[in-house]
Assembly symmetry: C6
Homo-oligomer: 75 residues x 6
């Protein structure tokens, strides 16, 4: 992952900030499991598992705190 | 999810802020599992599972930190 | 839940703030599982389950961060 | 729990603050499971369970953030 | 644990701060399970359990937030 | 781990900050399980386990909050 995928934490709207938080939550998974085929298999499992979906949502919530603070809450 | 669903983190009251935190916790699930039928099935499972309900509450708590800070705690 | 249940995050003492954090942790459960009978059944399970009690305590801790910050730590 | 158990978040030292964080993490358990006998039984289980001990430590860490901020990190 | 084990949150470097965060994460376990023999037995279990190691790392991360803020991020 | 591995929390870009957060999340595992062979075995398990990967992502998210704050969000 040597290309630039995160040039800035600044987004135009709260919603774009949320989408960035989702992206941030996925990159750590990619960096830990670089094989896209294995990730696809895992995705089939966790996208139909309530506990895993809630856990994903928790990670997004933590990253959204960071993105929202970076944008001074788009006030 | 290309429509605008999050125009602002600002709410009139702490209670509306809490409702926004609940919404924020659900959107990540929707973005990870876009099929509404599968989500309905999963919901039937987790809404009667104490551990899952507590985990949902944890995600709401994290988002509520963000919303409350954005609103300067409605002071 | 259309009635007002959260008029303010401001409390007179740290202890009242803690009680508010407990309330905040419970409301998300109510909003996800609105049926009081099912919640009563679930409560019987989790109030005798160490892992669930610790998880509840974690949610309270997160909300207490918010309430304490809102009250400027009652300094 | 109508008596005063939390008069202040201010402590003299970082270490006393840590002890307060431990206390804060336990009170939520007491408020959810008020029966001391059941809590004693549960304690025997979780104090010999690595996952539960780590989860307790996580709750303490969250409360310690609050107490440390309240005390301006004892700087 | 009546001796002084936490005189200050201030450290000279980010790395020493990290070591302090590790220490902070362990003390809560000691205070919950004071018997060193039981802790040694538990350690043998969790140090070879991926989920437990990740959970330990999560606690360290939370404490590191506190220590880093206390040191104004060593800026 | 007596060598210097964390001279600073300051990074040039948000992306380098993210890489530092990943590193911070791994060091706690190393400090708890110093044997590289056991860690390699564990890695084979958790890198193909969706729950573990999400948990790793949660730890990274917490550390990224710290790194982002240290860098004033690269604003």
């Amino acid at each position: 992952m040597s290309e630039t995928w995160l040039p800035s934490l600044i987004t135009k709207t709260p919603q774009e900030g949320y989408e960035l938080a989702v992206k941030l939550s996925r990159v750590a998974v990619k960096m830990t499991q670089p094989d896209p085929e294995i990730r696809d298999d895992l995705r089939k499992v966790y996208e139909s598992d309530a506990d895993a979906l809630i856990a994903v949502s928790a990670v997004v919530a933590t990253h959204y705190q960071t993105v929202a603070a970076a944008n001074n809450y788009w006030r």
